[in-house]
Amino acid sequence: MTATPLDILLGSDVPAEAGLHKAAGLPAQKIIDEVRESGLRGRGGAGFPTATKWQLARDAAGTMKFVVCNADEGEPGTFKDRVLLTDRADLVFEGMTLAARAIGASHGIVYLRGEYRYLRPHLESVLVRRRAEGLLGATILGVAGFDFDIEIHMGAGAYVCGEETALIESLEGHRGEPRNRPPFPVNTGFFDQPTIVNNVETLALAARIVDRGGAWFARFGTPGSRGYKLFSVSGDCQRPGVYELPMGTKVLELLELVGGEDAKAVQVGGASGRCVGRAEFDRSLCFEDLATGGAVMVIGPGRDMLQVARNFLEFFVEESCGQCTPCRSGNVALLEGVELLQAGRCSMAHLHELKALGDTMRLTAKCGLGQSSPQAFLSIIEQFADEVLGQQPRA
């Protein structure tokens, strides 16, 4: 963890349960209004306005409502949620609890990825302590009717379960295959009941926003992307780690901070993100420009960009759930294209076909996984055409 001057989540002076105490004294609608004023957008990467999601779930009719914390942090290059769950678990649970008050939920679920099972004992012990302190269970903080508890549900090694409808399918005991949307989980989620699925960081931020006020949070960032964001920085740089920075930070600014100024390229947003070459280092990390769930992978000079594209495509071939054709077959075809390029046997005409296939996948895949899977490949062949074409086959 690296400290920055204004730490909203990672600072050591974050007051315990301040947001929850405030939320307990507020009418539920006021909590959502505060989050709306903050302009908070989902931190998993998609950037859906959090208050809108909560309002829809609050207004939806249902016998039981659910708050799901999406801790299926599977995007390659992302580890900020691991850090939050390790060092700020209370803040995450606090955010879930006040979200429950906002939408009227009685039941919370943390969907923890199987790879993070070693974190489970720690999280369970925090939950036990919170129950003992009256921060979970019946009549939370002495407020009549404020009943909420959280259980941990383990994932089983499927990247696609980070997609919210696939996650709900998995919770219900099915294969983690995304659902068609609409309907959305806010109306028919877990057991067909109104459900909000929020990223770990989003929930932790909500707790801070209710404490400090929406207007305070909205002061930071850009008009379309308010506040601070955690960035998971890895790869060829001197100081990898989690950085808390305002939205709209430029790629080059971040690289200077982490000691990676000589980078050849930066992969923003993990495997499903975009590769940015030196010519675009003045672009900003925010929803209006380079949208990201926080993954920044620094690719140093001398690295083989085809190998980068290959790594990501192999990932998607493995992790496609197989439901829709563009994703199931498209990623295999793109990977074959990379192999052809690596063998130095790809014509420009064929490369154009691969580009067209990538565009088709973006338009026609069923869920975010398939739609974003060709992005890294497309941005690499676009920006590094001279490097990837005409390669000599390796021995």
């Binding site: 942090e73 599977g74 995007e75 390659p76 290059g77 992302t78 580890f79 949620d81 691991r82 990825r113 199987g114 790879e115 993070y116 099972r117 070693y118 549900h153 383990m154 994932g155 089983a156 090694g157 499927a158 990247y159 998995s170 919770l171 219900e172 005991g173 099915h174 294969r175 983690g176 057991f191 998971s232 920085v233 890895s234 790869g235 060829d236 990898p240 780690g241 989690v242 992969q267 993990g270 495997a271 993954a295 992978m297 690719i299 140093g300 690295r303 190998q307 980068v308 790594n311 990501f312 192999e314 990932f315 493995e318 992790e319 759930c321």
Partner: protein, 186 residues
């Protein structure tokens, strides 16, 4: 599978179903518990779980096949997962991976003959700032180096004790080796 073995497994599955609830949403927790103890989920287990939850056994099979942490074929007592994502790749995962293969005597996707270790690639383990990352059972080894692999494997082996027991969680004697699932394909 012997009747007695089936009865033991059946009782365990009933206990799991009672603990997690006899409903479809209990399926994954139940399967993960069986996987952890037996290192795979055989056909008998799938049928038992299906009967208790009131679903078709093939529904259970479909779920087992979907998730990479669930296996229909026997895996080793200890699962070794090496992260293959880009950050670990840049940090030098290939050399470490090769050394694990050398020290275990198997390749990725295989299980050692004594049934102790399975070796698999993992998609991102979420340790990108401290790669290359290795998961041995539930123990995480960040920034792992080739020269450390032998010691890491020896530590894992120490947990098995003197006798080559296939299930660390089950009481064994060296003379009577009891293993409900040994040597059977599901």
């Amino acid at each position: 599978m012997l009747i007695q073995e089936q009865r033991v497994l059946e009782a365990e599955i009933v206990a799991l179903a009672d603990r997690h609830g006899r409903k479809r949403s209990a399926l994954l927790p139940i399967l993960l518990a069986i996987q952890e103890k037996y290192h795979y989920i055989n056909k008998f287990a799938m049928q038992e779980v299906a009967a208790l939850l009131g679903i078709h056994p093939v529904e259970v099979y479909g779920v087992v096949r979907f998730y990479s942490f669930l296996h229909a074929e026997r895996r080793g007592n200890v699962m070794i997962r090496m992260c293959r994502s880009l950050s670990c790749d840049l940090a030098g995962k290939d050399a470490v991976a090769r050394q694990i293969e050398n020290d275990l005597g198997i390749q990725f996707g295989e299980t050692t003959e004594d049934g102790r270790f399975s070796l698999e690639w993992a998609q991102c383990l979420g340790q990108c700032d401290r790669g290359p990352a290795l998961l041995v059972g539930d123990t995480l080894h960040p920034r792992v180096r080739c020269a450390e692999i032998h010691e890491i494997l020896e530590q894992a082996r120490a947990a098995f004790g003197v006798y080559p027991l296939r299930h660390a969680g089950v009481a064994h004697t060296p003379h009577f080796h009891y293993d409900p699932m040994a040597g059977r394909t599901p």
